[in-house]
Structures are given as structure tokens and as C-alpha cells.
């Protein structure tokens, strides 16, 4: 059994009861300390949900999942800072699904307000929403919220753990607590007596202390420094355990083959051809698809392919053109939102130059490097589950529901995630594993999807169309009217995750457009929606991954129509509106030596998107190399308020940009005959070593509040590249992916 398995309790009823009771529990429930889901054995102590001590030392339990963003390292650093443990002694584990690990920062960001202009009053309102998040027990790694959520909580957990250890030492030694100090994982008495935390653990667990104050930032040793990541040794030696690497005695290997016409059922199937193959043991009916259990994953793949299946049709239009037409029809409906509506976009401005443009962005797959998988063991009265999950509580609850179990009968271990990007917020792969394992009680079954199954059964970043009108006069933008049509992602997610209907303006649909810090006097952003059954999901930076491109591309067009340098044009609109945003543009201007002029054969584009509380600007340089276009260089500046680990923030900014550029160049999911046409990396490629730009990153810390880093690097990358291509070729890229219009180097 895994380590976290032994120290995580099996009963998490408190969280479930809170959901059932809803707000009826109200203030009473919200103000209760969360029950500690960790169980200590002899000589161990779970001082709080985040700090576990045994005879080997201290383990920091992280409420968020490590999917590459370095979250375990930084969360551990926050706790270790207050706890006085040496970095080489820090160990981390993922927390089990539990109410104690709710994400306090996520729901606050879902409010339909412009984050950059949030007043203290609105921050207060968000705090109330955060309490609702606690009631719902949403244990989510997403929305670039982990640091915002963890900054105080992990430090407070470390500080209070240290305080209890001091108190325990004080009792044991009979020396006043204020005479004791802590260092390197030990309490030290004035006479030099050293008591290791491990020796004090059991007694400390029984000690109650008031929350001590947090350390002054001037004394920080870990926070703000680039710490050696805690996952590196395991990840370079092949010993890091991803979901797909879980191995249990007697384990079987399985795969699924679901209806490629998404949402369609299965009329009939014949398992016989599969059962004739070597190693195939079982074929299971999953209703809208089948699973094959075998002695080896590859033999399961062969078996799944051999099953003859008669599929039903999909509920949605089968062809891509019809899907586009459905989005277009949305423009003729009442708008779902007008979250920005400043001045009067319909009032004529005498002497202004008007322009219009339409943009299109496609569906996108997440394409995590590790294909979807989960491992499950059904014991008759319980389920044990191992997988990489961005919402372990949802995985637990949905697996329990699928098998008719109580959530308390499901134990889940979160492994490393071989990429998340929002795909592993969904729990379909875990539920399949649970259903399949139920067919083999007592036998652990690992269910691994083929890459093709993974790409063709994703929850896709929705396609969208943007229609923009604008006007410029005397070198300034005087009007911008953006209409964004697409599919209701928030409603689909609310129904799928929480079982609740979603009403009202969908902020996600227009984020990255309505909330940009530009002072345009007449400025409207409206969202229009068309319903769909196509599975939609959160794709790194979510709505901003769409709207960053639409909105900033049009800003660039306005700048050119105004006869202005596109960087100066943006700065003029931004300076009085939000200084940290303007600072990012100035930083990329200075880093790149931006002059607004480029030699023949070179193009440069600038772009800016404010997303997840973080302004981010990018300059991208492209070069014509004998007809092929290379993305040669890039400059990124962001302002995260406080960079808790600069090397990790830098990696996230570059990685976020690469994820966006890969999509901008090559990414599209299209439908034909009701099926996704792309299936693997040859038709859904990404940037590689030889096509990655040389990049410099500047991290600014002038913003008032700490903000996230995982997603904000993605949105501006796409318009920055398109704007650079315009500079190089004179052709305006209004549709992604760019490979269809431009001869990009591959």
C-alpha cells in the first residue's frame, strides 16, 4: 500500500455531508476547522492536514497535484519556511481526497468582474464565495490558483506545527517555550539540548496552540528563491510513479474503445474475434463502448481493435461545416453576456476610421504526454484507485456513484500527472477503471487508453468565432465592439461536475476579452452561445486561450489602422488603466529592443493578455528561411505580484507560451462523419526542440496581489505569433491553426 494510503483515513463523510446539507449548515460549518484526513500510527503525528511527522522526519502533504508546474516544491517551501526544516530533509506527498484540501481561491476568480480592477469590496465578496468553495469541498488543481490558495495556508500550517512542537518540547524539558528555538528540524534548548521533531511528534499531536504569527518576509530563506525541485531525481531516473506506472501484484491490463461518434451509443458488438487473441481474458460492455482485459496492455489494444462493433450516430452535427454554422447561428440569439459595456459603441464618431474583422479558432485536444489511464481494485465492499487527478474528490465521488458505493468506501491515491493542462480535471478515465475493475473483484486492473482513444475522446477546448468592429481617430482607439460566439463550457462543466444547472453570464466564455486593461471609451464585449453535446473542457488558460487571440489580434489591427506602432498604441490605452500591465509591455519592449521596424525577412509581433490575475506580454520574432518561416525568438514579461519560486515561474511562462504556440501553429480538432478526424501526434503536432524559439523571460513583482503562473503564458502567444506573421508577410492571420496559411518550419 502506498504511504499516503496508510496515513489517509478511509472516511471522508464530513465533506459529503456538507454537500448534502448545502448552505443550510451555513456559518457553523464554514467556521469549523476541517477534519484532518491523516491518521498517525505509533510514533507519528499528523499535526494538521499538511504536516505529517514520523520517525524519518517531516512530510508536507500537498493539497494540489503535481503535473509539472512545480506545485509540490513551492507548497513545501511555504510550509518548510515556517517549520524550520532543511531543504534536503523535505519530503512531499499528495493529499488524499478530503474536504480539508478544498481550493479557497478558485470560486472567487469565477465571479464576473474584471480581476485587474477588483476593489477591496469585491475581494471581500470573493472571500465569501471562497467559503462556499469550502462547503463544496472542491479540491481542484486548476485556474492558476494553487499559490493564491496555498500562500497563507501552507505557511500557517508550518507555523502552527512548529509552535506545537515547541510547546511539546517545553512540556518535556520544563523550560518556557519562549526560551526554545528551532533549527534544522529540531527544537533546541538554551543548554544545547536538541530534540528532533520526530521525538516530539506524538506529544505535539496532543498539544493545542493558537495560530502563531507568520514570519516577516525579510527573514525568508526559501520563499522567493529558486529551490531545487523535489521531483527531479525521480523524474530523470524513471522512478517517478505516474498513474500508468502503478504496479500491483496480480494486476491485469485493460483498455477501452468508446464510440468515436462522441455521445453516441452502441447498437451491438461481437467480442469473439478478441477472445480468440492471445492474452485476452475478458470483453466488457460499457454501454457506449467496450473494454478488453488482457495480460498485457498491448494485447488489450489488439483485442479492443478486434471486437466488431456497430455504433450509433452522434447527437451533434456530423460535419465540421455544420458545427461552424451552429456557432454562427449564435450571433442571432440574445447575448449570454455583456460583461463589458462602456460608453456607447453604436454612437457615430465623426471623422473616425472604422474597421471590422472576423476570427476563428478551432477545437483543441489537450494531448498530455501520458495518455489517460487509471488503476482500480474492487474488493466487493470498496474500491481502491490510483490515478493522476486534478480533482481527486470528484474522481472519488463519481467512482463511488458508478459502483453504488459510499465515497467513504473509495480510497484514491493521486500519482504524478504526466501532464494535466485541464484534461485531468475530468474523471471519465477513473470511472471506466472502476467499472472495469468491478468485473474482476480482487484483481487490480490498469486501464490505459491508446493515444488515438485519448485524442478522439477528449473534452475539447471549444471552437469559437469572434466578430469585431472598431474605430480609431487621431491615432487612438475610440470604439471596440466584440461579439464572441461559441459553446457553453461553464454550463457543461457545472452540470458534469456538480450536477447543477448554470444560469447567467458565462464569464469563462469571454475572459481574456472583456477583462483587458484598455481604456477605450466605447467598449463592449458580448458573448453568444449555441448548445452542443460535444464534450467541452478546460484547456490551459480556458476562455483566454480563445479570446486572447481574438481580442489582441483586433487590437493589433486597430493599431495598424491608426497608423501607430502596435506596442505604443497598446501602452497608451493601458497606462492609466493598470500600471502593472503597462509595465509588462515596457519590459518586453526593452528586452527585445523593440523599434517598431524590422528588416526584410524578419517579422515581429507583440501581444498582451491579462488572465488569472496576471498580466503577460510577449514579443515574438519570426524569420523567413528560404520560404519556410521559423519562430526564432521570444520575449516574455509577466507580473505575478510575488514570485514564490522564480525558476518555476519562468518555466511556466515559457511552457505556457510553447503550449499556445504549438496550438497556434498546428492544433485543430475537426469533425467528419461525427468523428474526430485527428488521432495522434502526426496529425496533431506540437513545437519541438528545433522549432522552439530562443526566449527570455522577465518576472515583475509590482502588482498588489500574488497571482498564478500556470496559464497566463498561453493566451498572448497566439496573437503575438499571428501579429509577427503579419509584420513579416503582410497577411493577417484571422484563423488558427496557422499552418493552413503559412509555410511554417516543421
Amino acid at each position: 500500500m502506498s504511504r499516503i494510503g496508510t496515513i489517509a483515513r478511509r472516511s471522508f463523510l464530513v465533506g459529503s455531508a456538507a454537500i448534502v446539507g448545502g448552505v443550510a449548515f451555513g456559518v457553523y460549518k464554514m467556521n469549523q476547522p476541517d477534519r484532518n484526513p491523516l491518521t498517525a500510527g505509533p510514533g507519528e503525528a499528523a499535526l494538521n492536514p499538511f504536516v505529517f511527522i514520523d520517525q524519518n522526519g517531516v512530510t508536507i502533504i500537498t493539497p494540489r497535484a503535481e503535473m509539472g508546474q512545480g506545485v509540490q516544491t513551492t507548497l513545501a517551501a511555504l510550509a518548510a519556511e515556517e517549520l524550520d526544516i532543511d531543504w534536503q530533509d523535505v519530503r512531499v506527498l499528495h493529499g488524499p481526497p478530503a474536504a480539508a484540501y478544498y481550493n479557497s481561491a478558485l470560486l472567487g476568480t469565477a465571479l464576473p468582474f474584471k480581476e485587474y480592477a477588483r476593489s477591496d469590496f469585491l475581494r471581500g465578496v470573493s472571500g465569501q464565495v471562497d467559503k462556499t468553495a469550502k462547503l463544496l469541498g472542491l479540491q481542484i488543481t486548476g485556474g492558476s490558483t494553487s499559490m493564491k490558495d496555498g500562500f497563507d495556508r501552507l505557511r500557517m500550517a508550518g507555523a502552527s506545527a512548529r509552535e506545537t512542537l515547541i510547546r511539546a518540547a517545553s512540556d518535556r524539558l520544563g523550560i518556557a517555550a519562549d526560551k526554545l528555538r528551532t533549527e534544522s528540524g529540531a527544537v533546541i534548548a538554551p543548554d544545547g539540548t536538541v530534540l528532533r521533531y520526530a521525538e516530539l511528534a506524538e506529544r505535539a499531536a496532543e498539544t493545542e496552540v493558537p495560530q502563531p504569527p507568520l514570519r516577516d518576509p525579510s527573514t525568508w530563506r526559501y520563499i522567493g528563491k529558486s529551490m531545487p525541485r523535489l521531483d527531479q531525481a525521480a523524474k530523470v531516473t524513471g522512478t517517478a510513479e505516474f498513474g500508468i506506472d502503478v504496479r500491483r501484484d496480480g494486476m491485469k491490463f485493460a483498455t477501452v474503445r468508446m464510440n468515436p461518434r462522441l455521445g453516441g451509443g452502441m447498437k451491438r458488438f461481437d467480442p469473439a474475434p478478441a477472445l480468440d487473441l492471445p492474452g485476452v481474458e475478458k470483453v466488457i460492455d460499457l454501454g457506449h463502448g467496450i473494454a478488453v482485459i488482457a495480460s498485457n496492455t498491448w494485447l488489450a489494444f489488439q483485442g479492443a481493435e478486434a471486437v466488431t462493433i456497430d455504433w450509433d450516430n452522434a447527437p451533434d452535427p456530423a460535419e465540421q461545416d455544420a458545427i461552424w454554422a451552429g456557432i454562427e447561428a449564435g450571433f442571432d440569439t440574445r447575448p449570454n453576456s455583456k460583461l463589458r459595456n462602456d460608453g456607447d459603441v453604436d454612437a457615430p464618431v465623426p471623422g473616425a476610421t472604422e474597421l471590422t474583422a472576423e476570427y476563428r479558432v478551432p477545437f483543441l485536444a489537450h494531448a498530455t504526454m501520458e495518455p489517460m489511464n487509471a488503476t482500480a481494485l474492487y474488493t466487493g465492499d470498496g474500491l481502491e484507485l490510483w490515478c493522476g487527478a486534478q480533482i481527486p474528490t470528484l474522481a472519488r465521488d463519481n467512482c463511488a456513484a458508478a459502483l453504488g458505493l459510499d465515497p467513504a468506501q473509495v480510497r484514491l491515491t493521486t500519482t504524478f500527472l504526466g501532464g494535466g493542462f485541464g484534461r485531468r480535471l475530468e474523471v471519465d478515465f477513473a470511472v471506466y477503471a472502476a467499472l472495469i475493475a468491478r468485473e474482476m473483484p480482487g484483481t487490480p486492473v490498469q486501464v490505459t487508453w491508446t493515444r488515438e482513444e485519448d485524442m478522439r475522446h477528449d473534452f475539447y477546448r471549444p471552437a469559437a468565432i469572434g466578430r469585431f468592429r472598431g474605430a480609431v481617430k487621431d491615432g487612438q482607439a475610440v470604439m471596440m465592439d466584440g461579439a464572441i460566439a461559441g459553446f457553453p463550457l461553464a454550463a457543461q462543466v457545472a452540470k458534469r461536475w456538480l450536477g447543477v444547472p448554470f444560469a447567467g453570464p458565462d464569464k469563462v466564455h469571454v475572459e481574456g476579452a472583456f477583462d483587458q486593461p484598455y481604456a477605450i471609451p466605447n467598449y463592449r464585449i458580448a458573448g453568444y452561445q449555441t448548445d452542443t453535446e460535444i464534450p467541452l473542457g478546460n484547456w490551459r488558460s480556458v476562455g483566454a486561450s480563445v479570446n486572447g487571440f481574438l481580442h489582441d489580434s483586433f487590437i493589433d489591427e486597430l493599431a495598424h489602422a491608426a497608423g501607430r506602432d502596435p506596442l505604443d498604441f497598446r501602452l497608451d490605452l493601458m497606462r492609466g488603466e493598470h500600471a502593472p500591465s503597462a509595465g509588462c509591455l515596457e519590459a518586453v519592449r526593452d528586452m527585445s529592443g523593440w523599434t517598431g521596424r524590422t528588416p526584410d525577412g524578419i517579422g515581429r509581433g507583440v501581444a498582451f493578455t491579462y488572465s488569472f490575475g496576471t498580466p503577460a506580454a510577449q514579443v515574438i520574432e519570426v524569420a523567413d528561411e528560404d520560404g519556410g518561416i521559423r519562430i526564432r525568438r521570444a520575449w516574455i514579461a509577466c507580473d505575478v505580484g510575488l514570485a514564490l519560486d522564480p525558476a518555476i515561474v519562468e518555466a511556466q511562462m515559457f511552457g505556457g507560451m510553447m503550449y499556445g504556440l504549438s496550438a497556434a501553429c498546428f492544433g485543430e480538432i475537426t469533425f467528419a462523419g461525427g468523428e474526430v478526424e485527428q488521432s495522434n501526434f502526426p496529425d496533431y503536432d506540437a513545437l519541438r526542440m528545433h522549432t522552439a524559439p530562443k526566449t527570455e523571460v522577465t518576472i515583475l513583482e509590482t502588482a498588489e496581489h500574488l497571482s498564478g503562473a500556470g496559464e497566463p503564458g498561453t493566451p498572448p502567444s497566439m496573437p503575438a505569433l499571428a501579429n509577427a506573421l503579419f509584420d513579416l508577410t503582410g497577411t493577417r492571420a484571422r484563423e488558427l491553426p496557422l499552418m493552413h496559411r503559412f509555410d511554417l518550419l516543421v
Binding site: M67, T297, L687
Partner: protein, 154 residues
């Protein structure tokens, strides 16, 4: 019918059909899970191992076609005794999600064995088949250069 394989210096008898790819022999039969499944069509490089020192995509090599000694990431070094190239990876803090890194390291190790001091262009050419969705390429490049220096100093 059992097939005999030499993997990381040890001999294994494998009782699987001839056409099972080496990748799935390593992962599901031998239990060496450091070698990763990414695409199954030699398009991502996550499954890269060495056969007689040559970097190959193990998802494309059938069990019966394995022509020599196999080395996987586990055979390169361990957390307590890392190979120099693995040390260089840690030093440069390369890995994000880490899933592709076994393949990246095996590919780079084969490059360095043949070209001890590769240019950026040579790195580009050798590493073009190894996909990373997190975007760790600049640090991979830095780690290859760093490993090259370490190996030449040694």
C-alpha cells in the same frame, strides 16, 4: 515459446507473442516502467531505449526483432547513483511533468556517445523526434551541453 532478452545487464526469459513491442515487454512483463508509452507510432520519443547503444523507439521493435542488449533509463543510473547525464538534468532543473524525460535522456545519451560535444544544430537534429508538451526544450539543451562538459572533464 520464451524469448531471451538482455536488459540492463540482466537476462530475462519472456513468454509473450513475437509481435509484442519491446515497450510493452519492458513495462508490463519485466516491470521496468521508466520507459513510457506516448503514441505507439514512433512520433513522440517517450519510449526511447538503447539497443546495443543505439537509440530506438521501443514501441516499434517487436519482441522477436530485438537484436541486441537493451538499456533503459533504469540501466543508466539510479536516484542514489545517477549517470552524469541524469545529474546534468537535475542541475538544470529540466523536468516539469517529467513524462517524456526518460526518452529525452536516452536520446541525448546516444547523441553524446556518438558526438561528445554537439553543436546546437546537432542537438536539434538528434532531439527532433522527442516531444515535450510542457516545453522543457531550452533546459534540455542546456543539460545536454552541461552533460557534454561533465563527460569530457571526467
Amino acid at each position: 515459446m520464451a524469448t531471451q532478452l538482455r536488459i540492463n545487464g540482466e537476462t530475462h526469459q519472456v513468454d509473450l507473442p513475437d509481435d509484442v513491442p519491446l515497450l510493452w515487454v519492458l513495462r508490463d512483463e519485466i516491470g521496468l516502467t521508466g520507459t513510457k508509452f506516448g503514441c505507439g507510432v514512433a512520433a513522440c520519443g517517450a519510449c526511447t531505449v538503447h539497443i546495443d547503444g543505439e537509440a530506438v523507439r521501443s514501441c516499434q521493435v517487436a519482441l522477436s526483432d530485438v537484436w541486441g542488449d537493451v538499456t533503459t533509463i533504469e540501466g543508466l543510473g539510479t536516484p542514489d547513483a545517477m549517470a552524469r547525464i541524469q545529474q546534468a538534468w537535475v542541475e538544470q532543473q529540466v523536468a516539469q511533468c517529467g513524462y517524456c524525460q526518460s526518452g529525452q535522456i536516452m536520446q541525448a545519451a546516444a547523441l553524446l556517445a556518438e558526438t561528445p560535444d554537439p553543436t546546437d544544430a546537432e542537438i536539434d537534429e538528434a532531439m527532433a523526434g522527442n516531444l515535450c508538451r510542457c516545453g522543457t526544450y531550452p533546459r534540455i539543451r542546456a543539460a545536454i551541453h552541461s552533460a557534454s562538459r561533465k563527460m569530457q572533464e571526467a
